[in-house]
């Protein structure tokens, strides 16, 4: 598998990241290097093996469905980079052209 510039752009968009100029060259190089290292896994025969998904043996951990207020409205907004008294603020989403 070879990752090219277009694929870097596509993955970066999916991950909501941006890479400019030399950063983009570097990440393409790094990804290719690491993926070829990861591809050694193809030497292992896994034709009869199911993927391991859950590591814990715990099943169906239940608790009573009780409403609890663990943080207040003010606390929820406390760490926001931009807010007003009620809401998180973001740049305008709907364009009014």
């Amino acid at each position: 598998m070879k990752i090219d510039k277009d694929l870097v752009d596509k993955i970066a968009h999916l991950a909501r990241l941006e890479f400019q100029d030399e950063q983009k060259v570097k990440i393409e190089e790094d990804l290719n290097r690491i993926l070829s290292f990861m591809e050694s896994l193809n030497e292992v025969d896994t034709s009869a093996v199911a993927p391991l998904i859950y590591l814990s043996d715990e099943v169906n951990v239940f608790r009573a469905d009780v409403v609890k207020q663990e943080i207040t409205h003010e606390e929820a907004l406390r760490n926001a980079p931009k807010k007003d008294s009620d809401y998180f603020r973001v740049p305008k989403v709907i364009d009014q052209k």
């Binding site: 290097r33 896994t46 926001a80």
Partner: protein, 474 residues
């Protein structure tokens, strides 16, 4: 003041009137000040620790102090503590203050521990040398030119340099054990599910565990028994009862031990690390233990398997850092999409972005089966083979790391070289097994060499008993 190696020593001196918790806190604060150049702490809770020491001294005098009274601990910057900052050593969490405490912090405080500060680590615990932190690298106390190891580098150095008695780190692929090995201290990673992750910043959720870093096996056992156990806030925390590990650290019978041939005779292992293994094996055999060589040919696939799965999990765990709800927001953002992209690109460091990109790729349509599902299959093989070994033997022993602490910058140019520093620690992580690193020898370069012991699922007691036996013999 003398250097304490266990809480038992501290308590004995307090009861004999030789010291007080307040005097101890002042001493550690002084040590933190004179060793500031090591960069182990991001923040020190000076006034709080002093005030709390007075309260704990009073509790000890009136005979109602908790199990950890007199223990001064630091916490890795991945562990939430109510109304205190926590940042995963990342710019993206700049200024973030936790609204609640992690279960591990609550349980330590309930037993009268004193938290003295927050320790530097690799950004989002992604690294093996504590060089990816936005706050800069951490220096090894024994040789300032060398790495502390990582990702819990600040935690390991805080204990190594006598700036506190113990620390809590987090271990995803070796992040407690490897820095403990580099710094000559004890580092314990519990069984997956043994300790609650409520209030722990997530990196890779099918791996992450909190673990103690201490001078002694006894203190690691004590801290584990305080922090472990069921938690209504975390359904992945096991309901399995927690033994009183620290009360019976003696070997009742001799465990059967295996060592991995690949981790002794393999390539890239420092000759003196190999020598430490051979001499441990010989000593144990002379003491009448069964110690046998086994093969584990899958070992060379452990690191690639680990990086496929952890990057996948990280890419999804770290999607929450969006510049909207908390943390850093780029001033260059003009609309919602650029708020996400610019905040994340400016807020995350290089290694974190590399892992998010890799994880996004291995999970993406068309590549999922070839990379992610493939690695999950190899993970099953590695786990099943490890469990099979542990059905014939009680414990596995291997080096914690192939070398002693390496130099700053030595492994930062090629990410694959840095990833291979985890070669001996990721097996236990992939299999969810408990493992501990204890100092076992000193290299001719002056640095400590760690011995790693891997136990059976939820059999920390047997592992700790054996670790304590080795520690006492040294």
């Amino acid at each position: 003041m003398k250097k304490y190696h266990s809480l038992a020593e501290v308590r004995s001196d307090i009861s004999e009137g030789k010291t007080t918790v307040s005097a101890l806190v002042d001493y550690y604060l002084g040590r933190i000040g004179t060793n500031a150049h090591l960069n182990a702490f991001i923040e020190v809770y000076t006034e709080e620790a002093k005030a709390r020491a007075l309260v704990i001294d009073e509790k000890i005098r009136s005979g109602n102090a908790g199990k950890l009274a007199g223990m001064v601990v630091s916490i890795k910057d991945m562990i939430c503590y109510k109304n205190h900052k926590v940042s995963a050593s990342s710019k993206i969490l700049e200024g973030f203050e936790s609204l609640f405490s992690s279960t591990v912090v609550e349980r330590m405080l309930a037993e009268d521990a004193i938290i003295i500060g927050r320790c530097n680590c690799d950004e989002f615990a992604m690294g093996a040398s504590n060089e990816t932190s936005t706050y800069g690298l951490v220096k090894n106390y024994d040789n300032n030119d060398l790495a502390s190891g990582g990702s819990s580098g600040g935690s390991a150095v805080s204990v190594q340099a006598d700036m506190c008695l113990a620390s809590l780190g987090t271990d995803t692929g070796g992040s407690v054990r490897q820095p403990a090995s580099f710094c000559g201290v004890v580092g314990l990673k519990p069984t997956y599910g043994r300790v609650s992750r409520w209030g722990i910043i997530a990196y890779a959720s099918s791996f992450d565990q909190v673990g103690p870093i201490t001078h002694s096996v006894a203190d690691a056992a004590l801290l584990l028994e305080v922090i472990a156990g069921e938690d209504g806030h975390d359904s992945t925390a096991s309901k399995e009862l927690v033994p009183h590990y620290s009360e019976s650290l003696t070997l009742n019978q001799k465990p059967r031990i295996a060592y991995l041939s690949e981790a002794v005779h393999g390539q890239g292992i420092d000759p003196e690390v190999k020598e430490m293994m051979l001499s441990q094996i010989k000593k144990l055999q002379n003491d009448g233990f069964v110690v046998e060589e086994v093969n584990f040919p899958l070992l060379k696939y452990a690191v690639p398997t680990y990086y496929v799965i952890t990057t996948a999990e990280a890419s999804s765990n770290l999607s929450r850092y969006d510049g909207v709800h908390f943390g850093y927001r780029s001033k260059n953002a003009t609309d919602l999409e650029s708020t996400y992209k610019k905040s994340r690109s400016e807020g995350f460091g290089e290694e974190v972005k590399r892992r998010i990109m890799l994880g996004t790729f291995v999970l993406s349509a068309g590549y999922y089966d070839a990379y992610y599902a493939k690695a999950q299959k190899v993970r099953r093989l590695i786990r099943d083979t490890s469990l099979e070994l542990l059905s014939n033997y009680d414990l596995l022993i291997l080096p914690t790391a192939p070398t002693t602490a390496f130099a700053h910058g030595e492994k930062t140019t090629d990410p694959v070289v840095m990833y291979l520093a985890d070669i001996f620690t990721v097996q236990a992580s992939l299999a969810g097994l408990p493992a501990i690193s204890i100092p076992a020898a000193t290299h001719s370069n002056g640095m400590s060499i760690g011995l790693q012991i891997i136990g059976k699922h939820f059999k920390e007691q047997e592992m700790l008993n054996f670790a304590n036996f080795i520690e006492q013999k040294q």
